[in-house]
Symmetry: C2
Subunit: 350 residues, 2 copies
Amino acid sequence: MKVRIKDIADRAGVSAGTVDRVIHNRGEVSEKTRKRVIGILKEQHYEPDILARTLASRHPLKVAVLIPFHTPENWFWKKPLSGIYDACSELNHFKIEVREFLYDQFAKGDFIEKADEGLNYLPDAVIAAPVYFQETTEFFSRCSESGIHFISVNSNIDHPGQLTYVGQDSRSSGRVAAQLIDFGVLKDSRILVVSIAMDKDNYSHILRREEGFREFWGRNNKASGMEIINLSIAKDSYPYIRRALTETFHKYDSIAGIFVTNSRVYQVAKYLQNTSREDICLVGYDLINPNIKYLNSGTIDFLISQKPHEQGYKALVTVFNKLKMNKQPSPEQLIPIDIICKENLCCYQV
Amino acid sequence: MKVRIKDIADRAGVSAGTVDRVIHNRGEVSEKTRKRVIGILKEQHYEPDILARTLASRHPLKVAVLIPFHTPENWFWKKPLSGIYDACSELNHFKIEVREFLYDQFAKGDFIEKADEGLNYLPDAVIAAPVYFQETTEFFSRCSESGIHFISVNSNIDHPGQLTYVGQDSRSSGRVAAQLIDFGVLKDSRILVVSIAMDKDNYSHILRREEGFREFWGRNNKASGMEIINLSIAKDSYPYIRRALTETFHKYDSIAGIFVTNSRVYQVAKYLQNTSREDICLVGYDLINPNIKYLNSGTIDFLISQKPHEQGYKALVTVFNKLKMNKQPSPEQLIPIDIICKENLCCYQV
DNA sequence: CTGAAAGCGCTTACAG
DNA sequence: CTGAAAGCGCTTACAG
C-alpha cells in the first residue's frame, strides 16, 4: 500500500542510497539512472515519510527571524515572535531551530546589519517584517540567490519568489472601521480621520487604510451626507497631538466619529477623555496596553486587531509545511480582521 | 543530551523492552524493577520521541466523532467536521483514524444508537456535541468506564473526567451582542430579544445568551433608559414568526434594535425586509447561508460566529496532544467571540 | 557513480 | 517476568 524508498529502489534496480540521492537532488548519480528513478517515483506517487526522515536526519531546519525588536513602550513586535515560538514548540519533534535577528525599526543601518547576520547564519528560510522597502527588497534578492526561502509578514513587499505573505488586507480593514463608525453615528455626521505617522515607512499601511475607509463611504447611500475630514499629525508626542486636535475641534464643531489609522489611537483617546468628549465614536488599531486601557474605560469603542501572534504562527507553519512537507502555500495568507470591543476583549488576550 | 530508552535501560540494568513495558503500563514487570525504572525515568526527565514511537508502532489513534449530521438546509454541523479533518490532515503522518457517527439532532433514539456504534468501534477518544443532556451524560460515563477519553464541543456537559470543553462562552456572547446594539441605537430606546427555539435542548445556550445580554444593560449607565422586551417563539416557521412579530410591533412602536439569540436571525431579517424596517439594528448568531445573505443586504448588522470549524479543529488537536504527546489540555478552551459584519465577512469564510 | 551497512529511538513478537 | 533481535522508513558515512 505505502510506497517506500526500498520499493522504488527494487523497481529501478538500484539501492536505497541512490534513490535517496535522486530525491534530494544531491548529485553523484548518472543521468541515466536519475531519469529512471524519477520516472518510477512519479509513477508510484512516492511520498516520503516525514517521521522517518526527521528521525534519521542529522540536520535541523534553520529559520532566521528578521523583525523589529520590542521595547517596554511598544510590545507589538513581541507577539509575532511568540507566535513563531508557539508554532515551533507544537512542531518541536521536527528539529526546527529558530534564530532571532531583531533590528531597530527606526535605524536603517541596523536593519542592514542584522540582515547580513541573518544570511551568515545560513538559514533554510527567513521570516521578515519589511520596514525599509528598498533594503528589504535587496535582502530578499540575496536570499533568492542563495536558495533561501523567504516570507514577508505584517507588510507585503511582494518580492518575486517570495514563499508567501502573511498579514492583513489594510484596505479592507479601513472599510471595516468605516462600517463600525457608520453604525454608531447618525446620518449626515462629521467624521475625522487621524493619521499619526512619525516615520514614512508605515505609509503604505496607513494610506491603504484611509483608502478603504473612504471607499466604504463612496459605496453607501446613508453615507452621502457624511463629511470626512483628514488630519495628519507628523509627530507622535501628546502635546503636539493635543494642539492639532484642539485646532481641528475649534474649526469643526460636532464631530461624531474618529478613525485613527494606526495603534496611536490611545493618544486621541487621552485627548477625548481630557476634554470630556467620550461620547464621540472612536475606532483604531491594535491590542496594545494603552489602547486596551481606553477600550475598557469606554473611550475607545472598537479596536481592529492585526493578530500579530497569528502572523508569526502562520509564518512558521508555512515554512515547515514547505520545507518539511513539501506543501506549497498560497501566495497570500490574509489574516481575518477581528473586531474587538470591551465585551469580547478577554477571549483575544492570549 | 537527549535521554533515550536505552539510557534508562542501562541505568536500570534491564533491557529496552522492559522499560517500554513500564512506560506503557502494560504489566509483565515485577513490582521491584517497575519501581526502579519509574524512578530513573523521572530522575532523568525522560521524554519519549514521538516520531520514533509513531514510526515503530502498528496501532493508529482511533477517534470517534459523535455530532449531528448536516443537511442542505443546515450546514452548521458540517463545519466542525471539516475542522476535525483539517487538523487530521495536518497531523496525517501520525496515524490518526477518524470515524464519523453522525446522528439526527431531532431524534433522541438515533443519538443513542450512534453512541452505541461509537463505543463498539473501540476508539481511543470521542469528540461529542451534546444535544441530549441526559443521554450524553450516560454516554460519557460509559466512555469513562472503558477508559475512552471524551471531549464535548459547542455545548458543555461538564462531565467529570472530561478531557476538555471546546466552545464559546454563551453569556459573554450575549454581552457582546448587547454592546453592539448599544453602540448602534440612541439612548432610551426599546430593544427586542427574540428567541426562536423549537427544541428544549438548545435552551441552556439561549438562556445564557439572554442572561449575558441583560447583564450588559444592568452594568451600564447609558442603558438605564433602555427598555428590553422578550419574545419567545416556539416554532421555527415563517408564518408563525411573522404573526408573533407583527403582534409585537403592534403592541410596541419604535423598536430600535433586535437581538436574536440563535441562528434563526434570518427569519427576523426576512420579516424586517418585507415590512421595510431595515433601519432597525439586528444582531444574531452564526455564519449560515441565509444569514450571510441578509448580512450582505444590510438587514442584519452583525453576526456572532461560534467558529464551528475551529471547535472541531481544536478538539482533534487536543486529542492528539493528550494521547500522543501526553500534554494535558486546560479544562475549558473558550473560542473567541468573533464579530462579523459585511465588510470583514470575506476573511472569515474558509 | 553506486551499494552495503549502521543508525535514528522506539515497538513488537518471540523465546526462554 | 525478562531479554535479544528484527523492524518501522529514512539518512549517513564509508568503501569501492
